[in-house]
């Protein structure tokens, strides 16, 4: 009569086989290669690397393929792999002023040293579905415009132009602060330092940060931002091997960086000046970097003596809920059996209904 919920093991095996089949799709369609994903779905790879906290295009492409294009699942795959990796060295801080810039725009100055470089952007494209792509149309090669820089030259930061006049707060590292914290090695505690907040935001879900940043623009913790500078390009990665004692370049990575310039009316101790919000992401993830910069600035409310009233200004709220690997796991754990707890609820609700009805029953007399 009673059919026990047996055979979980076989069911799991079968589910995995079905998943593998569904992932591959029709075998008559050629299989995606990692190179194709890396190059033609490059922004998916960039997002997975950013939120997965690993700069490795091949692994990220593999994760995208294995996850069937589900980027949050791909981020989870990459993160789970990341925890098994040994730490060989810590790099020197990257110098984004020495970035070999492929894109660089400022919304605060019409022209500035280094110029405005649009680069490969969706901005100003008309969002019309291009049916020639469906037909597999080729692409014209781009000629390098005359006068374009052939070798990377240092492009000064917009913020440093403002800083020379004292119009913007300094961003020197606090000498009193110890080494930067690492969320993947120490649990998050509150109040969190800015470097830990930035690490959390860099790993945080793009959609969550986008919505939070948007909420500040609509008045929930308004921060009067200007896109001081957005730049994307390649920066050198250097380490100092202990046996050498001087920095050695070991490679380069692509970064997107956003420095927001925000209004600040001043406080009892600080004169009116502009303040900063900072965003950084791997690859071309400009929307993420911009959202991060707005949220970073919002989370500085307490430090700048502003009243924190909005969700985006609430460190505990933002930092505890930004991680999509945590959020996705906990949300989806609702699929696990809960029949023991549900039984406890059933017993209680029945008892309470029984009590309530007994109390409501009219007496005999």
């Amino acid at each position: 009569m009673y059919v026990a919920v047996k055979g979980g093991e076989r069911a799991i095996d079968n589910a995995h086989r079905l998943l593998a089949e569904a992932r591959r799709g029709d075998p008559a369609t050629p299989e995606l290669s990692l190179d194709q994903i890396d190059q033609q779905l490059a922004l998916a790879v960039d997002r997975v690397m950013t939120e997965g906290s690993v700069y490795d295009r091949e692994l990220a492409a593999l994760a995208v393929k294995q996850a069937r294009g589900d980027l949050i699942e791909a981020i989870f795959l990459l993160r789970a792999y990341r925890t098994t990796l040994p730490r060989l060295a810590v790099t020197c801080p990257v110098d984004t002023a020495r970035m070999s810039v492929r894109r660089r725009i400022s919304a605060t100055f019409k022209d500035l040293p280094g110029g405005q470089v649009l680069g490969p952007t969706f901005d100003y494209t008309h969002r019309l579905l291009d049916f020639s792509l469906a037909a597999g149309g080729g692409v014209e090669p781009v000629d390098t415009p005359p006068g374009a820089p052939t070798a990377p030259t240092a492009t000064p930061k917009v913020a440093s132009l403002l800083a020379s006049e004292g119009l913007i707060e300094a961003d020197d590292a606090d000498p009193a602060a110890g080494p930067a914290g690492d969320l993947t090695r120490q649990p998050l505690t509150f109040p969190a330092g800015r470097e830990v907040r930035l690490q959390n935001l860099a790993r945080g879900d793009e959609g969550f940060l986008l919505s939070l940043a948007y909420s500040t623009q609509r008045g929930y913790g308004r921060s009067h931002p200007f896109a001081g500078e957005i730049r994307m390009g390649e920066v050198a990665i250097e380490i100092v091997p202990p046996e050498l004692g001087f920095p050695v370049e070991i490679g380069e990575i692509t970064l997107s960086e956003c420095e927001m310039v925000n209004q600040f009316k001043g406080s009892r101790t600080e004169p009116p000046q502009f303040t900063r919000g900072y965003g950084l992401s791997f690859g071309e993830a400009e929307r993420k970097a911009m959202a991060m910069a707005l949220v970073d600035r919002s989370l500085r409310a307490a430090e700048l003596g502003e009243e924190a009233t909005a969700p985006a200004q609430d460190g505990e709220f933002v930092l505890m809920h930004s991680d999509n690997v945590e959020a996705s796991g906990f949300l989806q754990h609702l699929k696990l059996p809960h029949y023991v707890d549900f039984q406890a609820e059933l017993v209680m609700v029945r008892q309470m209904r029984h009590d309530a009805m007994a109390a409501a029953e009219p007496g005999d007399g």
Binding site: V5, G8, F76, T84, D341, L346, M352
Partner: protein, 292 residues
């Protein structure tokens, strides 16, 4: 029956985690055992299983398990629920340890939502998977605030909540994850076990460890520690009772799952602890729905 050890997955350390991480977790465990019921923050790792699916318990088990251990994994009291199967497999693959479904044979029992009916013995370790380690979370959302409340043993808000339950519903309206006080000090979330299981925690000869991976907390109850379910003198703590017995083994002392048989109100009740139920049937006990 215990299943023999299996060959270990290539390319991964014993029980998956690297030894430095295990050491970090064991330090947190020692602290937790030294301060019963206190939530120790630890640097929880991303595991190859999702957060919310037992990563805290898995990290604790991975840090304490040795080659000679015999592991039992249950979810909802059962050894054959899909997530229990998945976690048991994970350790069979990464640690190659022997696994069992028999409670007395296990040296380490990882559980979600139940404590086995068979009383645990000295020398056994039970590892609970914990979703929300903070018993005050539904009363105060902020971690900064709840840590302060624990520090000062400022638990008035919890007693007010229980009192309001009685005032409104005539009883304390909590069926699972029913809060306890450990060794007369910290109020602790027992994880979402039914309150039916709460008395089993009290002065248990086994070591009880709790791991919350996503929330990055570890806590513990050392053997023989008093664990009291919160109540009032005039509203003493009481566990669930059923008017029915287990349909398979006839047990009247175990936690029962309700199984819907048809769409005409047909129900049967069976032990949630599958090992306990199977053991009773092997001893010749039968329930009224057995047979056929």
């Amino acid at each position: 029956m215990a299943e023999a050890a299996t060959p270990v997955l290539d390319g991964y350390n014993f029980a998956y985690l690297d030894e430095q991480t295990k050491r970090m977790i064991r330090r947190a465990l020692l602290k937790a055992i030294a301060v019963p019921g206190y939530q120790v923050p630890f640097a929880s790792r991303e595991m190859p299983l999702p957060f919310g699916w037992g990563t805290g318990g898995i990290q604790v088990t991975a840090s304490i398990i040795g080659r000679d251990d015999t592991l039992k994994v249950i979810d909802q009291g059962a050894d054959d629920t899909t997530n229990a199967v998945s976690i048991r497999r994970f350790f069979a693959r990464t640690a190659g340890v022997a696994t069992t479904t028999r409670t007395p044979e296990a040296t380490v029992i990882q559980t979600r939502h139940r404590i086995p009916e068979t009383p645990l013995a000295a020398g056994q370790i039970i590892v609970y998977q914990v979703p929300i380690p903070e018993p005050l979370r539904w009363l105060e959302a902020r971690e900064t605030e709840t840590r302060r409340m624990h520090g000062l043993a400022d638990y008035g808000v919890m007693h007010v909540k229980l009192y309001e339950d009685i005032a409104q519903h005539g009883r304390i309206a909590t069926g699972y994850d029913y809060p306890v006080q450990v060794a007369g000090r910290y109020i602790m979330a027992p994880s979402p076990i039914p309150k039916f299981d709460n008395p089993k925690m009290d002065r248990s000869p086994a070591l009880q460890l709790f791991g919350a991976g996503r929330e990055k907390r570890i806590y513990a109850i050392p053997p023989h520690t008093p664990v009291k379910s919160l109540d009032f003198e005039d509203h003493p703590f009481a566990v669930e009772r059923w008017t029915r017995r287990c349909g398979l083994c006839g047990a009247g002392d175990s936690y029962l799952d309700e199984v819907v048989l048809d769409d005409a109100g047909g129900r049967m009740f069976v032990c949630s602890d599958t090992d306990y139920c199977a053991g009773r049937r092997a001893d010749g006990h039968t329930g009224e729905d057995a047979g056929e």
